[in-house]
Symmetry: C2
Subunit: 574 residues, 2 copies
């Protein structure tokens, strides 16, 4: 491709509305342009990357025995009513009516359509297991689309679905998909981690997310430094401390705290160390036997954070978790948030495992502007339940039993689920089993955020000059930059001949034949992130050499023109 | 691919709701399944064909210098308001509002989005000409979706747009695209014709449609038997007859016709030959100088058909053409349709060129149940206008001046337009010209109905056994059908070894390893339309032979196992 016959569309300035580096660089490097909130046009360079990602995903799916098909983007409401998601799914589901006033949605995912397909086409256990996939445009009406294609409303996804006669068979395919996903991210050249994940609204039991590690990632991931264990922080278990609770040594004593509504203020104004205090959070739950909605207190150590997903899994707590309104708290306790604590509460109390080993600690006195010190469990508070309800922190022991946990940030780019029978049961998707009886199929589903990978790859691979693409997904393998091409015959002749030779050798070359100053061309090629630049200049030509520059290492190699193509191919494979 | 690990999904019965052969065969051969009206899932075999078509289209676009990009399916209403099409486009435009109540549409075409893109990215004449394209899912909310993917609501299209500084430059690109389209259809292996077309609602002046010829085609195309001339029948000019009008020989004479309301009945009951009578059609128009809406009479020979597109281009006739209501006709003329004619009419009369050379002809007397015979222009009817307002018929002289016209039917699969400045002017898409002044760009647009091509190819290539794919787009190049594989070791060994050898040689093979009777397997492979079948049977193996069958010709070739792969490759290239 010659730049003169291409749309490079690089920008010098960083667009002010782009908050994260991948969004900034995708705009500056001419990868995408915004059409409307969360809707983007992929420019030629961006599309080249997107297609390379797509193809790697496709090849690994095919290798794993999955079969490609293509379902419509537009889905009829009746299928979603069968699964129950027409009412469950929030406003993220883009709904509309057609000219005959029939209801449809733009698919954010295709469990319903594929389950309907398989229940019609597959009749016998002999046709299973079966894994079907598609690479497709998906739609989610995000409340706040942002970060460019990282959280867009229209995006490209690979979604696969598997069908089985047993959990065991599902597990085999799940493991094969796990392996295929690892192969994909290896081939993409990204630093990634599969992490144990929450199954969320898709349903099912076992689930892993695949994260591309990047400091700017939205998700926090907990890793063991002594094993392969990795889990989304939402899901990582905080083990009970192994040391026993210390004995009580202090008296329960109230003290005035007019200036402390938070753990931070308690430290600042009254010298209470956060890890010597507890936070008491009041949420809604159904503590009564007759399931009347009431209040439940959650107690965690002052320096810890509540893990809402863990809390809402507790049988006493309503799901989704909802913090109690101040009026309800005052009515029940007689004090405002900021002075709450477990002592004297009449509602059910759930104490985090770590808070449970504390002794002589500080908490609100359930009286405005007053706290207690010297609180001790069992002596001052009886009738409480102990559970894991906090986020892990760095240094916690790993739940796998080996090593301690570290936290890194990641961008979620893949998610695999063992769905079980959630959809097949609701939609009556059964086949005849070996005994000739109808049996509901067991399902798995497997997603890759294809367009999101492009952004995640940039989050992980960039510097102040621009993008540093992994070779496997770079828009071009190499850029030819002839210096002052229009001042000599020799330079264009050699540039053209190398361009043709490299193309013939299967190298994806961008030939920068614009009448621009060398500096402008270098900057553009670094911004776009082309892995190698071949610089052709008068001085080196005198020695029959050209210069090959590696974008990632900055390394410059002088190579002989006569063997340039072999040298370049060798450098690309190094 | 092994059928045991695939979804062949062939059907024995012809689905009752499929009206045309391509729709029937796409369902029966396991290419598509209906999800809802006009919405289809592409099964693995169908998707393989679709992707092969896509790739040929893409390669020819790249060869012609067009650059691929990808715009969103969801388009904001404001761009369509700028072009004026938000109000112009009918209910085919699938509109909806997002969660913030902003208006959007699902793109049936992308003139607005691309014009917006180019006006922002391109500033100078130096960056032009530029041709951009995409291969994408498009949406049209068809009033009556039918014929499977032939007229679906969601479909795959290649749409390209070009931008220029002059009509001449546009014309060059237009010719290059015309050539690229010819290359595409040649490579697809289809019998096709580029035909002169009407520009319709897209706008612009010059336009060609590309039709795949098939008896079931929706469109009628007029061809010259003496030149390359071809035009959509809507657009083909009916030349004025070269023979002069005969002299009047008969008197104008009324005769009662109580049993004739149509040309057919006039012939049946009163012996009037259709080509000796005229039809008089009353439509709405604006005949007055003050543009009051009134009635206009259109007169064509009894055996001809009105061409509405031609008629509505006449300045006196309202566009879109609308037939007058019976009440308005009776009020103006005093007679019902069925007894109308040009004699004595006070409204403007437009006479077709061929009707204009008639003499001594028959028409209604503008009195119920009465006709005139012996009508002659100028003597009996004065004050009329002559124009081409009829469809051409076979045998008409070609408008190109060479040969006479034949009519064939075709399926429109491509359409190219010289748009001119319709969109760029409305959306103020200008660049700086050589004089440093802002100049509105001139545009072209070029569409290919990618998914429609799949159906059109079947309409043209099928027999009573199923589809006969052109090799270039067949889902598989060859099927291996081992007979009674499970009764011997020799057959599976040879089948497996040939399967592997063919795959290694780059042949797209379907290995039918099901435990089915040979007849079932042969029928399925013929239905799916695999171009070659390799039959492996005990008897031939005794002579070290296998049988290669050509789906199109039915030819069977005995080939040596040891050189089977070379023989097969040779047969495929023949």
């Amino acid at each position: 491709m010659r730049t003169s016959q291409y749309i490079l569309a690089t920008l010098k300035e960083t667009p002010s509305d782009a908050e994260i580096v991948s969004h900034q660089l995708m705009l500056r490097a001419g990868m995408i342009r915004r059409v409307a909130s969360g809707l983007y046009t992929w420019l030629p360079s961006g599309l080249r990357v997107l297609r390379k990602v797509e193809n790697i995903v496709r090849e690994e799916m095919d290798n794993a025995g999955a079969i490609e098909m293509l379902m419509p983007v537009i889905q009829p409401a009746d299928l979603w009513e069968e699964s129950g998601r027409w009412s469950e799914f929030g406003p993220e589901l883009m709904r509309f009516t057609d000219r005959h006033n029939r209801e449809f949605a733009l698919g954010p995912t295709h469990e319903e359509v594929i389950t309907d397909f398989v229940r019609k086409e597959v009749n016998s256990y002999k046709q299973l297991p079966l894994t079907l996939y598609q690479v497709q445009t998906k739609v989610r009406d995000e409340r706040r689309p942002r970060f460019g294609v990282m959280r867009a409303r229209e995006f490209t996804m690979k979604d696969a679905y598997s069908f089985h006669m047993s959990e065991e068979c599902l597990n085999n395919t799940y493991q094969a998909m796990h392996k295929a996903y690892c192969n994909i991210f290896e081939r993409l050249g990204l630093d990634y981690r599969p992490v144990i994940a929450d199954t969320g609204s898709i349903g099912g039991s076992v689930s892993h997310e695949f994260h591309v590690l990047a400091e700017s990632g939205e998700d926090a991931i907990a890793f063991s430094d002594g094993s392969d264990y990795a889990a989304n922080i939402e899901k990582a278990e905080a083990l009970a401390p192994t040391e026993p609770r210390a004995d009580a040594t202090k008296e329960l004593k109230a003290f005035p705290t007019p200036d402390a509504k938070t753990i931070e203020e308690l430290k600042k104004h009254y010298g209470v160390k956060p890890h010597r205090s507890v936070k008491t959070l009041i949420v809604y739950g159904s503590p009564d036997e007759n399931e009347q909605r009431g209040l439940v207190a959650l107690v965690i150590r002052g320096d810890h954070e509540l893990n809402e997903l863990k809390a809402e899994k507790h049988p006493l707590v309503d799901s989704p978790l909802e913090m109690a309104k101040e009026a309800d708290i005052i009515a029940a306790i007689g004090a405002k948030p900021g002075s709450l604590g477990p002592v004297g509460l009449t509602m059910p109390i759930i104490v985090d495992r770590t808070a449970n080993v504390m002794a002589d600690f500080v908490a609100g006195a359930n009286k405005d502007d007053e706290h207690f010190s010297g609180i001790n469990w069992d002596r001052d508070v009886t009738n409480y339940d102990v559970a894991d309800i906090r986020n892990i922190v760095e240094g916690d022991p790993s739940p796998c039993g080996q090593g301690t946990l570290q936290i890194k940030r990641g961008v979620e780019v893949g998610h695999i689920f063992q769905l079980g029978t959630k959809y097949s049961e609701a939609m009556k998707a059964g086949v005849l089993n070996e005994d000739g009886k109808n049996q509901v199929m067991t399902m798995g589903c497997y997603g890759v955020g294809v367009s999101r990978i492009v952004a995640a790859a940039i989050e992980q691979n960039n510097d102040k000059y621009g993008i540093i693409w992994p070779q496997s997904i770079a828009p071009f393998d190499l850029a030819i930059v002839p210096m002052n091409m229009h001042k000599s015959h020799r330079i264009p002749d050699i540039a053209n001949s190398l361009y043709q030779g490299l193309k013939d050798a299967g190298v994806d070359v961008l030939f920068d034949d614009r009448k621009e100053r060398p500096g402008v061309m270098f900057n553009d090629m670094e911004l776009v992130g082309v892995p190698f630049t071949l610089v052709i200049g008068e001085r080196n030509l005198d020695e029959n050499k050209v210069e090959l520059k590696n974008r990632r290492t900055g390394e410059k190699l002088m190579i002989d023109i006569d063997t340039a193509i072999e040298s370049i191919k060798a450098a690309m494979q190094a």
